[in-house]
């Protein structure tokens, strides 16, 4: 089945074409970074407006690149939550009405299920069950995955998401938006040991996270180092390195704990922060220590994209799931509410 995937839950318009026989045929992502940069964060109204401009041209590009016409499609998948409701509605209404006009089924996909299944788009596919670390600007969750739609939440952030903490720390240091990747780049040249950043909630049992304390520590360190409101370049690099290492360590400690606790030694990393090189390297070591393996999608499929939505949607459509023409989006939607696939295939 040839499935068109549309992702518009936040600040990236993603469109992709996935075939259940041949795999990912084409995908395009348009990032709205330039739209939001001057605000230092995603402005929901502007995000929604930009999705309206980009959806149709991206669909045409993807179809052309794959050498298919719309009449070849067997189904359409669109992100129906969680996310910014105005942004979600653009992709959902476009996708659902396109499917109706073509007389084919459509399905609303859970954004985080898309992320979680993104490693399935790579050649080296993990077997169920596995532990998934979902890390993005909006989420930090550890999930035990028994199969598609069979998710047990093991732990999550009680405050900021890891990606959010990255962005906020970067903003405090005056780095350009989006701060997370800029901070990581600085961290490469810094001394992670100069400042003793805490590893929040690692000294007690449990798999939950908290990153707001790291933010406070970063703030205090910046203020201690700054002279007349100016931070020396080396200070910036060392703070960035200390911060990044603290986040990565914390995530790795909890991943290790989750793998030990469940006896599952396959770990997947998904979500925007999953593109972080240090996190990838450290989790590889963590998994190997437990005689296990880590799986992650290529960086382009870690950040928001249409390919993961097309893939997740294809699994659901293949199992006979369809969404009604009464379009509804769910801005807050716990992943544990998802149902297992109606039938295996």
């Amino acid at each position: 089945m040839l499935v068109l995937g549309l992702e518009t839950s936040c600040d990236e318009t993603g469109v992709a074409l996935y075939d259940t026989e041949r795999g990912l045929l084409a995908h395009r992502v348009y990032s709205q970074i330039a739209v939001h940069a001057e605000y230092g964060g995603v402005v929901p109204e502007l995000a929604s407006r930009d999705h309206v401009r980009k959806g149709l041209p991206l669909i045409r590009e993807v179809m052309e690149e794959a050498g298919h016409t719309l009449q070849d499609l067997g189904g359409i998948a669109y992100t129906s939550g969680p996310g910014l409701v105005g942004a979600l509605l653009v992709g959902a209404c476009l996708g659902r009405s396109l499917a109706w006009s073509l007389g084919i089924p459509a399905v609303g996909v859970h954004h985080m299920e898309g992320h979680l299944l993104a490693p399935m788009l790579e050649d080296d596919v993990p077997e169920f069950p596995f532990i998934a670390l979902l890390v993005s600007g909006g989420h930090t969750q550890l999930v035990k995955v028994e199969g598609i739609g069979e998710y047990e939440l093991l732990g999550e952030s009680l405050d900021d998401a890891a990606g959010e903490a990255f962005d906020k720390a970067a903003k405090m240091m005056g780095l350009p938006y989006p701060g997370g990747p800029a901070l990581s780049k600085l961290a490469d040249e810094g001394d992670a040991g100069r400042f003793s950043f805490p590893r929040p909630m690692t000294d007690r049992p449990g798999l939950d996270f908290s990153f707001s304390g790291l933010k406070t520590f970063t703030r205090t360190t910046i203020l201690n180092c700054a002279v007349d409101g100016v931070l020396a370049e080396q200070d910036k690099k060392d703070i960035a390195a200390g911060f990044q290492t603290a986040v990565v360590d914390t995530l790795a400690i909890k991943c290790k704990r989750a793998m030990k606790q469940t006896g599952v030694n396959r770990l997947i990393i998904a979500g925007g922060v999953g593109a972080n090189r240090m996190l990838r390297e450290q989790l590889k070591v963590t998994a190997e220590q437990l005689k296990g393996r880590v799986y992650y999608p290529r960086p382009a499929l870690c950040t928001d994209n249409g390919a993961m939505i097309a893939y997740a949607g294809a699994q659901r459509l293949n199992a006979g799931e369809v969404s009604d023409i009464a379009v509804s989006c769910v801005p807050r939607w716990p992943m544990t509410e998802l149902k297992p696939l109606a039938s295996g295939n």
Partner: protein, 231 residues
């Protein structure tokens, strides 16, 4: 002869209209915040009830705003999806002109109507329209601003005022019967017909909502508090 579907979601109403070779069927529902849920089912129903297949459609018109930002995005997104799948030309219709045209059918309307819609956040959208032979024609640019600013223009205007913006002070003192008029697909269908005859339907790629209000209540980085000195 042509079959044209018109949809609108720019107000608390959700509406569809089907012009089948000059014969109009329509449906309007009061559906605040449920436009996404109702629009496609209403389209599906009106076609089924009329015995028209979606493949018989020749063109698609949608309420392009101004109005509810989410609503007009729902309408344009649905229009884009349908137009892409059915290879249809598309045309955006002004919601203010629909209000003006609805008012113009009344004998009191004279030859000019000022359409005023509630833009929320204490503002109104407005636009002037001339009326000739029962059809409207834009008489100026559509605007957004305070009701007071709109009133200043309205007092020099001398025509009929219409639209739910009249419910806001200082207009509310007028107690106008025309304050109940909201944009609807059945009115827009007449405007769509005019655009169709003028050859103004085009590619769905170039169709964008008309928001009028383009500022956001969001501080830019240089207005936000900063821990360090800015470069």
């Amino acid at each position: 002869m042509s079959v044209i579907l018109t949809i609108d979601a720019s107000s608390s109403l959700c509406s569809v209209a089907l012009n089948i070779n000059g014969e109009l069927v329509w449906n309007t529902e009061e559906q605040p915040r449920r436009h996404a849920q109702r629009l496609l089912p209403m389209i599906d129903d009106i076609l089924a009830d009329s015995g028209i297949s979606r493949h018989q459609l020749d063109g698609l018109a949608f309420g392009r705003g101004p109005g509810s930002f989410t609503g007009i995005r729902i309408a344009v997104s649905v229009a884009q999806g349908l137009a892409l799948g059915l290879n249809l030309p598309v045309c955006g219709i002004s919601s203010l002109e629909a209000v003006a045209l609805a008012a113009a059918s009344n004998s009191e309307a004279g030859d000019r109507v000022l359409a005023i819609m509630d833009a929320h956040m204490g503002e109104v959208f407005w636009g002037e329209f001339d009326v000739l032979d029962g059809m409207t024609q834009a008489g100026g640019v559509e605007q957004v601003g305070s009701p007071e600013l709109c009133l200043t223009q309205a007092s020099e205007f001398g025509g009929l005022l219409a639209g739910d913006g009249l419910r806001l002070a200082p207009f509310s003192e007028l107690n106008s019967a025309y304050a109940t008029i909201q944009p609807e697909a059945r009115i827009m269908a007449a405007l769509a017909n005019r655009e169709w005859n003028n050859g103004n339907f085009g590619s769905p790629d170039n169709q964008l909502p008309v928001y009028l209000r383009n500022s956001v209540a969001w501080k830019k980085l240089d207005e936000q508090p900063s821990l360090l000195k800015r470069n």
